[in-house]
């Protein structure tokens, strides 16, 4: 090994890390530019109202079943686990407050976001990626229709509005399912379940949940549309973009969740 030879592998590793970091920064910049350009069309004619409604249906209504099922089982498991823990301290009456706070503050927004990423976010990326492969995005441009206004904007806005609504449904179903397990199966007093819940859950908790859901919805919309829009125009490229969109959006939800939770504590 020549002079400084042992430094070469270290330089290579740092070089690779540096290049990855620069690529990440470039992608962040590109995503910001794409979403800002798209959102600027909110104020311009033609309005994309009809396309927004279609996307709201695809993202929101079509995700209802999975949100209801996930919410119900989350509430049921929380009630079982919560009862087991609280019984050790003789505080079973706090079950309602425990289930409601866990779901409203944390599990509703996070699990709701995961479900929307898996069901709707991946299909947004794949759909836009396929439009790229089949030159449909170019065709729109040549027909003087801006894909940022027609394709990107309605999906970002729909995700931002749909997720808080889905999370609200998730919360209600989760709390109701927790009630069924806690009260009907485990014998918790129904009055104390509801009374403790209404006493302990404050407007601050509800606002924290709403804000998280809105931020997650916007982030999912931006990431999933961006990954599809810049997908390599090949079959493998679309598959890779879809996987990356799901992974990046899911990790992003957890990271942003930590930051927002630290603000709302």
């Amino acid at each position: 090994m020549g002079p400084g030879g042992f430094l070469t592998p270290i330089c290579t590793i740092f070089g690779r890390l540096g290049r990855r970091f620069l690529m990440f920064l470039q992608a962040m910049g590109d995503a910001t530019v794409l979403s800002t350009d798209s959102l600027a069309h909110l104020l311009r004619r033609p309005w994309q109202g009809r396309h927004f409604i279609v996307q709201l249906h695809a993202l929101g209504v079509d995700s209802l079943i999975i949100i209801i099922i996930t919410g119900a089982f989350t509430g049921m498991v929380l009630a079982l686990q919560g009862y087991y823990t609280l019984a050790k301290f003789g505080s079973e009456s706090l079950l309602g407050a425990g289930v409601a706070l866990s779901i409203i503050r944390e599990l509703g927004p996070v699990l709701g976001a995961f479900m929307v990423i898996g069901r709707a976010g991946s299909s947004i990326t794949a759909e836009i990626g396929i439009m790229r492969v089949t030159e449909q995005l170019d065709a729109l441009q040549m027909m003087a229709v801006n894909p940022k206004a027609r394709i990107i904007l309605p999906r970002i806005v729909a995700a931002t509005i749909a997720l808080p609504l889905l999370v609200a449904i998730f919360d209600v179903i989760g709390i109701a399912a927790g009630y069924l397990v806690g009260v009907d199966l485990l014998g918790v007093n129904p009055g104390s379940y509801v009374a403790e819940m209404t006493a302990k859950v404050t407007e601050h908790d509800l606002n924290g949940g709403w804000v998280k859901a809105i931020v997650f919805g916007f982030m999912i919309g931006v990431i999933c549309t961006f990954m599809g829009y810049r997908a390599e125009p090949t079959t493998e490229g679309v598959a890779r973009a879809t996987t990356q969109a799901v992974v990046i959006a899911s990790v992003g939800v957890l990271m942003i969740d930590y930051i927002l939770t630290s603000f709302f504590l």
Binding site: T134, E135, D138, A139, Q141, M142, M143, A144, V145, N146
Partner: protein, 263 residues
């Protein structure tokens, strides 16, 4: 009509189009021909404003497409139409929806009038009665004809065709070639046709541009191209495998690769 000055396009280290000047004449058909990878589709995308050039300018209707705002570019595109290599029909719309799409977007015409225009365009391409079919239910030739009808829906000043006959059987290919010829002549349009189909290109074009390795190697009327004594032009129009345009892209001797001899 359309003019490119010192136009070039580079993707990373690869120069797809070398600096060139090009002039597309009004009310006629210009065929851009060349082998696969010669840069003709990239040149078409530069001329239509789908790609921004690395260097140079594209002038259309007195405006530089490479410098104007995105908004202005979209406004100018209302005067353009394009038929893509794989048709690029919108999957979510049926044949009627695809052809009516530009009319719905850019006009405030009554739906009855739009229907009549769509029927007229579909009749022109021989597909009246197929308006309820989805793109997935169409053959390659039918999809190309729907794309043609859609490109003509707004009666554009200029239409771009990217490989209009590729992947089609001889009958469909002939139909598309005739459609381009007849429509452009009747409507006094300007057409830019990118093709490697020598027969189609030379039979319908008023002006032919031949490309190789991102550069223009010949330009003139179809008769001038046929009479050219340039070896590269002759090899291309005669479809000869041997000549100055190599068939094999490999730079290493075949035997070295077979015997795994390291360079």
């Amino acid at each position: 009509m359309i003019r490119g000055e010192s136009l070039s396009k580079t993707f990373g280290d690869f120069q797809a189009v070398r600096p060139l000047d090009i002039h597309i004449r009004e009310h006629g058909i210009t065929a851009i021909m060349g082998g696969s990878g010669s840069g003709k589709t990239t040149l078409l995308r530069l001329l239509s404003g789908l790609e921004r050039p690395s260097t140079g300018h594209v002038w259309f209707a007195g405006e530089d497409l490479s410098r104007i705002s995105e908004r202005r570019l979209f406004k100018l595109r209302e005067q353009m139409g394009m038929v893509f290599q794989y048709s690029a029909l919108l999957n979510s719309l049926d044949v009627y929806g695809n052809v009516a799409f530009p009319l719905h977007e850019h006009t405030s015409l009554d739906e009855k009038i739009i229907r009549r225009i769509v029927m007229m365009k579909l009749e022109q391409v021989g597909l009246r009665g197929f308006e309820d079919l989805m793109p997935s239910e169409l053959s390659g030739g039918m999809a190309k004809r729907v794309a043609f009808a859609r490109a003509m829906a707004m009666d554009p000043r200029v239409v771009f065709f990217d490989e209009p006959t590729s992947g089609l059987d001889p009958i469909s290919s002939g139909v598309i070639t005739s459609l381009i010829h007849d429509t452009v002549r009747q409507a006094h349009m300007t057409a830019v046709v990118v093709t490697h189909d020598v027969h189609a290109g030379l039979s319908i074009a008023d002006h032919v541009i031949l490309m190789w390795q991102g550069a223009i190697i010949a330009s003139g009327s179809p008769d001038e191209i046929r009479a050219s004594d340039d070896d590269r032009v002759r090899q291309f129009i005669e479809g000869r495998p041997d000549g100055p345009i190599p068939f094999s892209r490999s730079t290493r001797p075949y035997l070295d690769d077979l015997l795994e001899i390291k360079p």
